[in-house]
Amino acid sequence: MMSAWLNQHWHALFFALKQFISAPFASLLSIVVIGIAFSLPVGVYTLLINMQAYSGQITEAPQLSLFFKLNPNESEVEEIRQRLENHSLVTSLQFVSKELALQQLAQSDGLADVVGNLGHNPLPDAFVVTAHGVAAEDLERLRAVMLQWPAIDYVQFDAAWAMRLDALLKLGRLGVILLATLLSLAMVVVIFNTIRMQILTKRDEIEVSKLIGATDSFIRRPFLYFGAIQGLAGGITAWLIIALGIHVINNELVVLSELYAVDFHLKHLATKDFISLLLFSAWLGWLGARLSVAGYLWQIEPK
């Protein structure tokens, strides 16, 4: 029984592959169409993943800087220190006196002369606070509260832009899902149509097979294999397109990285994502074939 089942699957796979070989140009064409259609959402997804990795480094431990009004007295500084230490969201704090700030500024390239020419120290005392990795809105609220504290002139939320980027990326993800859904549908339609054409050329075979005792699954199987293989090949094509794109972009980024002295390059899709992509595209191919054959079998069913 088991070997009969295996034999039937071999037979179906063999026929599916034969189908590819008998019409290589048409098969290749639809694989390329599927690949291009799929490379769009996959490409956007890859870009998002890369940007997320970058913004994630910054947003993991967002910083707030609290600047004092000019010349606060000791008790005011101590009061703020107390409040910060007792705050649940604050993980660490560091006092940066205006003298220290000036020193740090003087160490920066090209600014030593400027600092030297200053008659007095224009910088305020400050606390640099690291918060838990909480949502941007919470940190914005925290910032508003701190602004009301005595002797505080200004509170700066350093990671604000990264947080906003993060929120934007979430929106981008939604866009990827919508795009992927739309193009997946297109792919199912492409495969549906390919299989429909194939069925038309195999009408006699299907009819005879049914008459001499073929089950519906026997008739379906070669087409399902064909659809799945086509989907899989489309998925691989999409990945190749993206990999090539990343390669080209990275070559350009090398120049940019050197200019700005930062290491920034695009990473390829993770293995897990790659496998998901292949499984999903194969499944879509299978689905398109399944719907197509089901439609035909229903048509020829004696009423």
């Binding site: 070997s3 009969a4 005792g213 089950t215």
Partner: protein, 218 residues
């Protein structure tokens, strides 16, 4: 093995192809179904293979009522039946060997076993030397024999042929009939629909079901 009980078949256009048919065929019988074209011979055969279902009454094949059979069970009923079609239904995109192989592929046979059986069937109908030929190169008689080989390769217990000698000259027709007789001799239940009078020379040997305008003559 096959029994019809008050079988009526009416087509959607209102045509009554079969009216109140009653008969029973035992295992190992050889039966000729005769009558003019349009008498309902083909319909009767199609009802046995569950290609069509009766409007009323019941058709019982191998103990199974075709009207109550689930859709998914029909293929397995058909695997017990060998069908020789009036229009052959040979696949022209594959050679003789591959045509005969099809029922065994459907049954999921191992290719080595299947190849042996295909050659045995081709040998029986005298086409062994032409296994690589494509059907387009075969004569009418050879195509008919190819169709018979495909019908018997999976060793069904029932063999049904619809006008198997239709367009053949007398000698060829006799050859074909002899083939059916030899299957009958090894215990296969054989049903042949024909309007061909030449086959009826030795009709006393077989049971005859004579159809006229959809009714069974007494």
């Amino acid at each position: 093995m096959i029994s019809f009980k008050n079988v009526n078949k009416r087509y959607p256009d209102g045509f009554n192809a079969l009216k109140n048919i009653v008969f029973a065929i035992e295992a190992g019988e050889m039966v000729l179904v005769t009558g003019h074209s349009g008498a309902g011979k083909s319909t009767l055969l199609r009802l046995i293979a569950a290609i069509e279902r009766p409007t009323y009454g019941s058709v019982i094949v191998n103990g199974q009522d075709t009207r109550q059979l689930k859709k998914s069970a029909i293929p397995f009923l058909r695997r017990n039946i060998g069908l020789v079609f009036q229009d052959h239904k040979i696949l022209f995109d594959r050679n003789v060997f591959e045509n005969v192989l099809l029922p065994l592929q459907i049954g999921g046979f191992d290719i080595k076993v299947a190849a042996r059986r295909v050659r045995a069937a081709l040998d029986k109908v005298g086409l062994l030397k032409r296994e690589k030929a494509y059907p387009i190169t075969l004569s009418g008689g050879e195509r008919q024999r190819l169709c018979i080989a495909r019908a018997v390769v999976h060793r069904p217990s029932i063999l049904i042929a619809d006008e198997p000698t239709g367009n053949l000259d007398v000698d060829y027709a006799r050859d074909i009939m002899d083939m059916f007789k030899s299957f009958h001799q090894v215990g296969v239940t054989v049903l042949i629909a024909t309007h061909d009078a030449t086959l009826l020379e030795d009709k006393q040997q077989y049971r005859i079901l004579a159809l006229a305008q959809g009714e069974l003559a007494a």
